[in-house]
Amino acid sequence: MLELVTTRDNPMIDPAMHVWGWEIPVYLFLGGWVAGSMVLAGWFMRRGREPGDRCVCDVLPWISLVLISLGMGALFLDLEHKLYVWRMYLTLQPSSPMSWGGWILVLVYPVLALGALRSLPGDWLTSWPALARLAAALREPAATRTLSNASILTGIALGIYTGVLLSSLGARPLWASAALGPLFLVSGLSTGAAFAHVIARNPVEQAALLRADNAFLAVELALIGLFLVGLTTASAVHVNAAALLLGGPYTAVFWVFVVGLGIVLPLAIQTLMASHRIPHTLVAPALVMLGGLALRFVIVSAGQYSHWISP
């Protein structure tokens, strides 16, 4: 029999680590959604358009600006030393994914702003001739391609860095997977695609977004599989961590809400929707988005709970 006793009882650390509450999963969800939206906006920005043809790339940047600000608000609320937040922006710490992320978030704003500006017709900006000129310039093909690349690359960076951040915290063995960054990115893409599919007014875009979402969901499923394979074939510490999702306390919420209701069910529904076997419904995209939120909550919570079990 092994008995372990400790005298330590520090807040947020004992008996199990819980330093990040709802703020971080909410940010991760919103950040992922914005990341997906930026990639999709960048993508759809490049297609040819008739006058009056509406593009998701006109709407997504505006919505993303609001979402990313809410997300950053959540991040700010999480800080324990809030008055010193400006310290983030006096330095870049190359070994810290959070430092990279701070600057990526700084970069996100001008990219989104330009995308938003680009969507404004000239007659809306008559009072600001300089902005009208800039908006028009952004609609030129060369500028559009540049902005598209920027939006896609920034979106990928935004979507992937959070997973990299978590996976760099080796002390939380559940997060020790190179699949975590791509998983968060693909989840953000699927959330973004689900939402964009609902708001898209152009039928071509609608259909494309539906098929894209299905692809993202399938890849997400595969990445979850790889994530679990990686952990369960690593060391005892990592097998023990993975067990949280494979029989341990997080099993039900993970398989029911994240995988079942968040990926498999909507993928099935949307596959039927894509082949027109069933009418379009909001239920599937809603499940995808809720599943994305659930994924963040489960990974953040279970990950903190996991610990380095060897003495």
Binding site: M1, T7, D9, M12, I13, Y84, R87, Q93, M98, R172
Partner: protein
């Protein structure tokens, strides 16, 4: 350049918590928090029992994940003795360092910054021992320079079986426990 560490003799340690209390008063550690603590590990069945008592704190690792994850550079390796410290004025309280430590050695001070054992650098700079080492009534705790081949620390680890905590976490801790 010095590289400070500790050697703690588990044979001598009785787990009395003098180190915990001394640290608390020396460093004004707030109520409800501790920078160091006692762990007891009991193995076996009555009467064949083995009790290992360890006085633990931040290990001031040679590969400190708390330093690499810090987005502002608040968490850093100090030049003097390679002690791992937190610059309170740079810390934003993001808690990545708390999550990055496999030992759970850090906590958030009520004033908002990340806090932990500092090897009593304010004492060591003056040539004194850290408070926990100075108080230990069973003389179990030893502090010194691991880079000094003649130091007591190196003599102890060379002559006795010893272990470090969670060596497979890859952090290269600088506190060694004599069996």
């Amino acid at each position: 350049m010095a590289r400070f560490g500790m050697v703690i003799d588990t044979r001598q340690c009785v787990g009395c918590m003098d180190c915990v209390v001394a640290c608390k008063t020396e460093n004004d550690v707030p109520d409800g928090f501790c920078r160091d603590w006692i762990n007891q590990r009991l193995e076996g069945t009555m009467p064949d029992l083995r009790l290992t008592i360890t006085s633990e704190r931040c290990n001031h690792c040679d590969r400190p994940p708390c330093v690499s994850c810090c987005p502002t550079g608040a968490s850093h390796v100090h030049e003097f003795g390679r002690i791992v410290l937190v610059d309170h004025e740079k810390c934003i309280g993001c808690k990545a360092c708390l999550a990055s430590c496999p030992y759970g050695a850090r906590f958030i001070h009520p004033d908002g910054y990340a806090d932990k054992c500092t090897f009593c650098i304010h004492r060591v700079e003056k040539g004194e021992l850290p408070a926990c080492v100075a108080v230990c009534p069973t003389y179990a705790m030893h502090f010194g320079d691991l880079d000094d081949p003649g130091s007591e620390l190196n003599r102890l680890v060379a002559s006795r079986r010893h272990f470090a905590l969670k060596p497979d976490a890859g952090t290269q801790p600088r506190i060694f426990y004599l069996e």
